[in-house]
Each structure stands twice: as C-alpha cells, then as structure tokens.
Symmetry: C2
Subunit: 379 residues, 2 copies
Amino acid sequence: MNGAGIGNMTRLERGHVTLSDVARACHLSVSTVSIVLSEAPLSRHVAEATRQRIRVMAERLGYHPDVHARSLRRRRTQTIGVLAFDMSDPFCIPVVHGIEETLQAAKYFSLQVNAQTQRMLFDRYLRMLLERRAEGVIVIASWVFEETNLLADIEKNNVPVVIVGRDLTARRITSVLVDNHAGGALAMRHLLDLGHRRIAVIRGPEEMFDSEPRWQGIRDAACAAGIQIDPRLTFQLPNQVNPRSGFEGGLRFAKDMLASGVPFTGVLAFDDLTALGVVRGLSEAGLHVPGDCSVLGFDDILSAAISTPGITTIHQPLHEMGTLAAQRLLETLDHKGESRAPKARLHRLGPELVVRTSSAPPIPETEFKSQRSPVRVDK
Amino acid sequence: MNGAGIGNMTRLERGHVTLSDVARACHLSVSTVSIVLSEAPLSRHVAEATRQRIRVMAERLGYHPDVHARSLRRRRTQTIGVLAFDMSDPFCIPVVHGIEETLQAAKYFSLQVNAQTQRMLFDRYLRMLLERRAEGVIVIASWVFEETNLLADIEKNNVPVVIVGRDLTARRITSVLVDNHAGGALAMRHLLDLGHRRIAVIRGPEEMFDSEPRWQGIRDAACAAGIQIDPRLTFQLPNQVNPRSGFEGGLRFAKDMLASGVPFTGVLAFDDLTALGVVRGLSEAGLHVPGDCSVLGFDDILSAAISTPGITTIHQPLHEMGTLAAQRLLETLDHKGESRAPKARLHRLGPELVVRTSSAPPIPETEFKSQRSPVRVDK
DNA sequence: TGTTGATGTTCAAACGTTTGAATGGTATAT
DNA sequence: ATATACCATTCAAACGTTTGAACATCAACA
C-alpha cells in the first residue's frame, strides 16, 4: 500500500496533511476519518478495526487537525487571550503560570501577548485577540495602565474580560488583585514590631493603582501604633513606564535621605526593585542592611529572594491570582447563554509577610545616629 | 438607516460581526466589502465613496476580520511559533523581545508558548503550534533540552525551525547561540588580569549544552596564562530541570570550598544565579565580596545588575540573538518555494564582559589566608 | 457598427473541518 | 412479512473569508 506515498505528494503540493489525505489513503470518506480522529460521539459506531486503521495512517502521515478550519466550523476557538502590560515585569510570570494551569485543565489554550508597556501595542494586540476570536480576555495590568476604550470594543463583541492587578469593577469588569492596604499595613507592622520608630517610606508612582492603598495601609498601621510618619522621610517615585526605574528611584532616595540628615532606621519601599535600589544606595554610603537600617520590599520577586541580604517583603499570591482570574472567566463563559450578565466581582487576595534578612531590630544607640559620616566603611 | 440594528441582532445570534453583516448594512455584496476592507489590489477599482461607506460601517459595527477564516482561505497564517523551554528563565525575556520586534516589522504574529521545563508540555505545545499552522518555529532552549523526535514531526510538515541557545546544526537545524567558549575565556581572563591566581570554578550541569564550552574557554584562558586550575576548586552543578537550583548549588559549593580549607580569591560561577548563591554562601560565612573574594557570573540577568554588590558577568547579546533567529527564519520562509533547502547555519555571537562591583584585585596578604576561620564575622 | 478599455461590482468556488440527516446494510422482535 | 433497532459509513451543507473570472455599464476609438 502506497498510502504514504500519496500523502507525501500532497504534502509537497499543499504544505500540510489534511483529512482528505488520510481519507484517501484509507479508502474512506472524509467524514468517517473526521469522526474518528476528533472522537465525536458517532465514533462509537465505527468499527474498531477501522478506527485503528485511521489512527495509524494519520500518525504515519503526520496529520494534525487544522485549528482554523475546526474553529471556523465549530464556532468555538477554545482560546483565551492573555494580555500582559509588560511580560518582563517579574510580577507577570507567576500570574501567567496560574492562568495557564487553570486553562489547560479546562482544555483551553492561552494566547499570550505582551504590550511591552506601549499603548500602541496594547491596542494592536487587543485587536489581534479579537481577530483570533479569543472567547475571553485576561488583562494583566502590572504597571501603569491607562484607560483604553478598546475594552469597550471588546464588550461590543461580547467577549468577557477579567483584569488582574487593578480594580475596574466600576467599569463592570471582574477584577482580581492583592489587598494592597493589608500589605502596606503588614509591612509597617513588621518594622514597628521589631522596634523601629523612625521609618522612611517610598511611595509608588501617583499614576499607579497600587500606590495609594499601600500608602493608606502603612499610615493606618502607624496611626494604630500611635506613630507619626515624618513627612521629611516620605518620598514618591515619579510616573514612569519603565518598571526598572524603581531601582534607580530607590537608589536616589536612599542617598537623599542620608544627605538630609534626618535620622531613620527602616525603609518601606514601594516594591522589591525599589528596595534593592535602597540597599544599593545605603551600601554605597557605607551602611549595612540590616545592621544600620532595615529595608522592606513588596511583591516577592525572584531578585528579592536571591540577593544578599534577602529582602524581607510582602508576598503577593500571584499564582493564585492567575488561577482565580482564569476560573472566573471560565465561569462567565459557561453561563454565556443566560442573558442576565453575571455581575462584575472584586477579588482582593490576602498578602503575606516574608521575613528574610534585610530586616532586624534597630540597634538602640544607632537609632539617632544614622547621619554619621556616610563615607565610613566598616573594615 | 438601521444598519447598526441589523448588526446588533446578528451579533446576538452569532456572536461576531461578519463580512456579510457589513455587506448587508451597506447593501453591497460580501466580495466588495472584503476587497475594500482587506485592501486587495482590486480595491483600486472601487469608488472612493463606496470605500468610505464600507469602512465607516465596519467601524460602527465593530467588525474584526476572522483570522481563522482568512488563514484557511489564504493558506497562510502569518504566524511564527515561539516555544520557550522555560519562560520564567530570565534568559528568555530579552530573546523573545528581539523575536517579537523583528516579526512585528515583518507583519508576522508570534505565538508564544511556555513548556515550563516539562517534557510533556513541550510536546503538547509543539503539536499545538503545528495545529495552529505556524509557518515556522523558534525554539528557545534555555535550560536542559532533551532530544525530542517531535522536531522530526515538524519537519515532516515542512515547517522550518531555528533554535536559540543550542547547537543543533548536526541535525540540520539553524542555531543561534552565544560563543560560550569565548565567554568562559573572557571571565577567566578578567580574574587573571586583576591578579587572581587561585580561582574556583563551578561548572554547569553535565546535561546542559553550555557547560562544556564555557569550561573549555576557562581552561584555555588559564592555560594561556600558564595557570593551573586546582581540581579541588572545581565543582559541577547537578542535572536539574529547575533553573533556580543554580542558586542553591552556588550557596552549597561556596560553603564546601570554605570548609575544604583550600585557599581561593575568586570564583567563576556557571551563571548569574549560581554567582548570587556563592555571594550568599560567602556572606553567611562572614566573608565580603569583593573584599575577600571576587565572584563572576554569566548571562547578565536583571538580578545580577540590581543586587548589591552588582555581579560582574558575561553579557549574552540575547536581544540580538532573538532578532537574528527571527531574521533567519523569515529568510527561510521567503525561499520556501525553491526546493533546494537553505542549509542549516550556525551563528555564534560574541559575549561581552560587564564589570560591576563583585570583582576586584585580590588583597595580597589575604590571598593565601582565605582558610581563616569561616565563622569569623567582621563586625 | 463593432472593438477595446476602463470602471464598479458580483458570482461562485475554494480553503479543511464538523455534523445532522441520510444511506444501505444485517439482525432481532413482532 | 413487516417493523424496529442497530451498525458502519457517507452526503452535503455550513463556518467566514478571498479571489479569478465574469458581468454590466459607459466612453472612446477604429
């Protein structure tokens, strides 16, 4: 039998092995082959011998069903778009993992695109997801995420959306995010518990959603402990799209606060990158972490764990957030027929304190001494 | 005109706005609308007024062409599959960026999938790329990449492949990678130039492609300088799929080498994660980098740049590697018709030394003293 | 008067798959 | 004998798009 030969010829002409190639090689109709290979209900009625024959031949020819043809006919793509604002942000990776895991289990495919912090790309990719007929979209808004009315276009084609990292319930979009207020409070309480009283705070950029609630949490925790935060020790990162700018910001502010002469024994940085910048700044001035000053981050990215000292930080349940976002989206998809729209829900997940070695009790006598000569080196 | 109304009704029934919705709303045939919206050559012959009318209506209804139908008909998907062995490896991100950039310019779409170091997923995703009719595939083999015969299946469907991070030219696959030998030599020469003589080396896992050439480069550089590498100061990371295991390995080996009592003033780590592990290990023993010991990494990932001290490392031109891989693939695609296969090429890109603060000249009197009590703490 | 050549639009087939309905069987029950 | 049920397979239409060929209209030229 030269079935394989036929298949080869056809492949050369057409580029891909199709159902009809397999059918021809088996001397059967396209229908039968389709029914068997796609394991349709009808395939129960196909003789086992025939099924075997078809499967073997498909394998031999290297047949792979064409998703485009299938989607067209089935009117379902089994695809969810995942639009990350910046995939290189360490924040994204675990979220995406969580999403992938959940979607995979539900036999969905996740189509990931990366806007690289560019508004233009964001729009283009959103359009692309629509064109590829994603059945739903998850947006990961790790960094600044400006309003885009393309989200409206998405709803015009009634494609449900879930957003991670930002509260858009006001726009009737289900949102999944960490409880920033609780996280901020957790961080502040940790420093207070260690005995710190003079604490510097580096707030996130004004445009960034997380900034305000974290700062609120920090203030509330301070307030509850009857502590004032010295306004001379609060700073705010500038609005910048580049997520790495946090490092430079932390570095600069650390030097600023040392130069100001205002004493402090601990720093609450907006995120881990900022914290690492602070560590660098202090270190360049000859100070040690945590000996001379404790530093806390937020997010729990890889770099925080593997730097020395390890950065004490607030862990975001990123994986879980991804999982949850995917689950909610799948549920919405399930209830697609029922016209009463399942209302947008807000999921705020609890953060966790991860204690590493960048935090320690303040050394009593140095508490008001941190303006000692910054050039002094300890050896 | 209640065109919009019709569109809405149809959308509710069918889920998506199609060409025929637009056509009906414009009182034109599907063909005309298609010709105009896809800017086919024939559209020159369509009256400008008509074109406007069509475009406006398409916009109003929120029409987006169905990629599946289009691909099916055009027999081209304009899609390149990008299969990363582990997207969470910091190595991948810049490579993917480079790829995306190049493909975008060529109006191609990059379909990214992430095998998460799991062989099973690798196979599944490769199949998926075939089913989605990717016209070519770029494999990013950052970490251990076992042979898979699915690559053969890919060629069976004559989909060209380019691999990044590994030399598979022996299998007739165009390969793009950093010149590991040169990189290893560069690192060694840097330490030698600084005056180091007793240098520990942590080699990569045996199964990993980069390990051997880097080690060769290191030895050749040492040899050229007439220096012997003490076998008691060479270590090898175990075979592990988890890329993060490099950190633990570095940590452990640092302690081992201190415990062994064999003096050393510098460490060449296999990669940045390993280097960071070494820094941690030395630090836990009370030693300072670079004061007591210099540490070099390889790769130049984010964590190396933002940790303190910054890790001196060998930079891989990852972005460029991505760009190059994409370019080669596109070229192959262009010459698809011509049956003489453009033979597989090997591209070895030059690495660069990035000097940060983890390396410094050895302090003469401590050169043979590093076996001083490892428990001593400097403060 | 017929030919050529634009211009503006439509026809109809095709891409590869799925699937409800239909086909022709054979065996069992009425 | 006819009806019923099941088995194994095929028909044919449809999904949304593209595109070579065709059509109709009008103008200008031989």
